[in-house]
Symmetry: C2
Subunit: 208 residues, 2 copies
């Protein structure tokens, strides 16, 4: 099999999935592809480009069903959990991409297209869609980063110093923590967006 850009990315993804981004090496990548390390440089300018390529490749794989008729809250929830599923399929890569590839989510990406459509359907004025989309992207990638690197788990299991917890019964917390907190974040942000969209009885304008 001849060397191709796509083939290089695919092999890099396998290495990353297995051993993490920091273990990816041009030389290992060449070995896996049965090639000379220097041959790669005829298809790819450097290692950074490999990482960028793998990131865009996975990002463009994202698919989500569009429930045109469901309420926007449900649709955004589904979009976010679909995105979470993708993140869990390639956790090492996604943790890297979220922090190192600022253009990971681009205009044409299915995620952003779907998100834009949902926000529009929700009644977000067109001029506020970019900033609202940014809020959602930041929150979703943020909580996923924390979930993928273990921070979320740690935070959720910290016992507050406040009120030294007199009874420390032996039951340790049950562990599907991460998904619960992911949903909690989602619910919280959705509720927050809701009340920005429905001007409440105090007459506060939507989107102040």
């Amino acid at each position: 099999m001849p060397l191709t850009e796509a083939g290089i990315y695919a092999a890099a993804l396998r290495l990353i999935d297995a051993d993490g981004v920091e273990a990816l090496t041009m030389r290992k990548l060449a070995t896996v592809l049965d090639a000379n390390p220097m041959s790669l440089y005829h298809h790819v300018p450097n290692k950074e480009a490999v990482l960028r390529g793998v990131t865009r490749m996975v990002g463009s794989q994202f698919r989500t069903v569009t429930l045109e008729n469901a309420p926007w809250q449900e649709r955004i929830r589904l979009l976010a959990t679909d995105f979470r599923t993708l993140a869990h399929r390639h956790p090492k890569l996604m943790a890297y991409s979220f922090s190192h590839q600022p253009d990971f989510i681009q205009r044409e990406d299915p995620f952003l297209v779907a998100l834009t459509a949902i926000l529009d359907a929700a009644g977000v004025p067109l001029s506020k869609i970019p900033e609202t989309a940014a809020v959602v992207c930041a929150v979703v990638t943020g909580v996923l980063t924390a979930e993928l690197n273990g921070a979320l788990h740690q935070w959720a299991n910290i016992k507050p110093l406040i009120a030294p917890t007199a009874d420390d019964n032996g039951s340790t917390n049950s562990d599907p923590d991460e998904e619960r907190i992911f949903r909690l974040v989602l619910d919280t942000i959705i509720t927050g967006l809701e009340s920005r969209l429905t001007p409440d009885r105090d007459g506060q304008a939507a989107g102040r």
Copy 2:
């Protein structure tokens, strides 16, 4: 000046602030400290430990004023913006820490102590404080990560594909975008938390 653990961390921080985490090298660190590269290993087990040490050092520097009598919404806003200020003082390090140091925010850290107190004052039941704190930590570090690596700026400036924007008047967006969106995220999450705390007239329990 003799080599010390704290001195090593301080020098490492200067290098990171200047050139980024990926440019930090045990050998450069030694040069800056006027020492032999191998001397460092008598005070620090390895490079990873240096990064951990620098992270904890900066994390413990965090300070915030405690407005006991202000409403919890104001207090959490202040806490978050104080944290943002710290993040901007060492952007390269913090971007790294958020994604690579899951224990960056620990129980004894002033940030978490203050957050716990605020959530308690807000009326969050003690049993729900950890998960609520996790939500806030995830959202704040998430939006800061996106801000520090430029993703937030990109997202906020993407023109939706929807409705091809007939009039593209020359005025480019004015740029204090990041801070505005940071506040927007904060407002959204606070509003979301509020409605979780004040059971609304439909009788939905607080914290379902």
